[in-house]
């Protein structure tokens, strides 16, 4: 009976949607960046799989179907850029300089730290795209021979961390320009940081979503050129 239910693709999909809805609800009620909907989903799904002794491959019958939407979800990020084309045109030099500096520093620091801490090449490949949005990060990690799950974990931890410390850093380093604030949030902590940037202001939100896509593309190209 258990096998019949849990090997149906509907099981993994339904479980994921329920977990995600609970995650969104808790996040909305508490407004805490730490209680990220995605993080809550994992804290609900993973223990349930372990508790009821459900193999990952059963869950993945549905999971693979959800996974299929990663590619379309990445593709439509193009719309985010297109919608911000006026701001983009106006500040193209600053946007390009910021995205390039952010992406290059991310790759450099991850490389140096992984080497210094004795982490192997598989872990390094998994962590190199950690600052960019999940679907792009998974794509890079896959191309470089990393472990998808480690990449996703690092991207989520980065996003949550960035949205918590971002506003603190803005005060600490006296970043007055709203454009610089938004770019830094998006480049350092992708979509999760962008949702925080939207709370800071409209300009910050727009620039953060531009940074999210631009530094994503630049990181993809740089990391594949250097390590591919």
């Amino acid at each position: 009976m258990k096998e019949m239910i849990c090997t149906s693709p509907f099981f993994g999909i339904t479980l994921s949607i329920i977990a995600y809805s609970i995650g969104c609800y808790i996040n909305r009620k508490t407004r805490l960046a730490l209680l990220n909907p995605l993080l809550i989903s994992y804290l609900l799904i993973i223990p349930s799989l372990l508790l009821f002794d459900i193999p990952l491959e059963w869950y993945d019958k549905g999971g693979d179907i959800i996974n299929m939407f990663l590619s379309p979800a990445t593709a439509v990020l193009a719309i985010t850029i297109y919608r911000q084309r006026d701001i983009l045109r106006k500040h193209i030099a600053a946007v390009l300089a910021g995205s390039l500096a952010g992406s290059a520093s991310s790759i450099l620091i991850v490389f140096v730290l992984c080497r210094a801490l004795g982490l192997d090449d598989t872990i390094m490949a998994s962590l190199l795209p950690k600052s960019i949005t999940t679907p792009m990060a998974i794509a890079v990690s896959e191309s470089l021979g990393g472990i998808q799950a480690i990449t996703v974990l690092s991207v989520i931890v980065t996003g949550i961390l960035g949205s918590i410390i971002g506003p603190v850093m803005i005060r600490l380093f006296r970043i007055r320009s709203e454009i610089a604030q938004g770019m830094a949030m998006g480049a350092a902590s992708h979509a999760v940081g962008t949702s925080k940037a939207i709370e800071l202001g409209e300009i910050q939100g727009a620039l953060s979503s531009i940074a999210l896509v631009m530094s994503g593309i630049i990181t993809v190209v740089l990391s594949l050129l250097i390590f591919g």
Binding site: Y42, L56, A75, A78, A93, V152, A184, A188, G228
Partner: protein, 118 residues
């Protein structure tokens, strides 16, 4: 029917992206090829946002949901994570802080240079 057409457009773009990535002589993520194609289509006017609006809004506003299965795969890597967790956290935390500062300062500097030129 409208949503059906929108799904077809976006899935066709993804399929084209996969074809392009297969033809390219170096590894390039198909999803990024599809995104660049869509960017090209929008800026050239071949596609209008209205052609794909509802489907895109659905994908963009539920973006995080689609990451769930990829992350659930950590159940297969508990031992690995247990062996690297503190190093993992150092890399993630340090790089997040560095990227934030570098980006913020670079953009501030670039904006100041832009202003001076005017």
């Amino acid at each position: 029917m409208k949503i059906l057409y929108q799904i077809a457009i976006i899935f066709a773009l993804c399929l084209l992206g996969e074809i392009i990535s297969a033809i390219l002589p170096f590894p390039f993520p198909p999803a990024i090829s599809a995104m660049l194609l869509l960017l090209l289509a929008l800026f050239s006017g071949v596609l209008k946002i209205d052609h794909i609006k509802e489907k895109s809004d659905f994908l963009l506003s539920n973006m995080a949901f689609f990451f769930i299965p990829a992350g659930v795969k950590v159940v297969e890597h508990f031992e690995l994570i247990a062996s690297i967790w503190w190093r993992f956290l150092i890399v993630v935390a340090a790089s997040t802080i560095v990227v934030f500062i570098v980006t913020a300062l670079t953009v501030s500097l670039a904006l100041r240079l832009e202003e001076r030129r005017r």
